[in-house]
Symmetry: C2
Subunit: 197 residues, 2 copies
């Protein structure tokens, strides 16, 4: 699958929609010659405009060290094709090895901060500048970030909207239940307009 050719920029005002439905994500980081990628189930948007998100990154992780040093992080949204990789990336530490090399993960530099962004097999990514909040980072491992660039695979997200279809299940998002069990988001449900009896 060469999904990278299908990536298109996402307007910042639409960036929160990429994580609105609670997918498990990959957090990327880099500082100097070191880089890392880890899985994270705990993230959410906190503001539409400016687009801001929160993600929990344990203070003991190598990622946290790189994020603090560089002042930024990437959020990449893996599709179902990457479920094994996602679980593996969440189970090893980047202190011990370069996970990009170990798992043959391709990355390209993000347009604003130059952080490593994954495209192949991913539905979308967001490049984020860390908003320094020492108390929240310390007490809850919760890091806030402002989205400075975003892009998505146009086969599943375009013109500001997700489109989950039978022909793009590989790109549909995954949601970690725990212990390597994920559920796939699919099966679109259209709510009745409010006020409908």
């Amino acid at each position: 699958m060469s999904s990278s050719n299908h990536f298109q920029p996402v307007l910042l005002e639409h960036a929160s929609r990429l994580v609105n439905h609670g997918p498990t994500v990959l957090v990327t980081s880099a500082h100097g010659t070191r880089r890392n990628v880890m899985a994270a189930a705990w993230s959410m948007p906190v503001e539409f405009t400016p687009p801001r998100i929160a993600v929990v990154i344990d203070k003991r992780t190598f990622t946290r060290e790189l994020v603090a040093a560089s002042g930024g992080f990437g959020i990449c949204i893996p599709g179902t094709a990457l479920v094994d990789l996602t679980y593996a990336l969440g189970s090893a530490s980047g202190r011990d090895l370069d996970k990009f090399e170990r798992y043959a993960v391709e990355a390209r530099p993000g347009p604003v901060l130059g952080l490593p962004m994954l495209e192949s097999g991913c539905a979308a990514w967001l490049e984020c500048r860390l908003i320094s909040e020492p108390h929240t980072e310390d007490a809850y491992d919760t890091c806030f970030g402002e989205v400075v660039a975003a892009a998505a695979d146009a086969r599943i997200f375009s013109n500001g909207h997700w489109s989950f279809r039978e022909d793009n299940t590989d790109l549909q998002t995954i949601h970690h239940l725990g212990a390597g069990n994920f559920v796939r988001a699919g099966g679109v449900l259209r709510a009745a307009p409010p006020g409908t009896p």
Copy 2:
């Protein structure tokens, strides 16, 4: 559907698993004779033990007023059967009407704080005590809470684990893409153990 009969307590150490996969939730609140319920797509766990979660509640909402006054909130996890109700509850303000009455929503008092908890049509609920964080509440509308009680419908969550099956699709969680479009979490994907070639 009389799901209320199937609710069983969830150990606090397992509470984070109820929201680990990013479902859209209903936030309940009450103070004195007033009560409310709203939909929220933006929530996440932040700690396993003690179990703590974060949820974004706009400072202009009636819910936020009740949460501040009472010092607690409920998180209820609607199943697919409640997709229309969830969207409707996210589109009207409880300042103007009692949404429990208007939408015929049944609630029972939570065991620790007495907050209204929904069971019929829901997969689970968490009763939470607000952890006062004035700066984060103000800057990011992000409210932290400690889970003080939790329960789930044993047909989809028991012994600390989710079980998404063909026979419980009504209770499977919903994830809001925006504008009334939801995806259902289903289709379990089992990741290969890390280290598998």
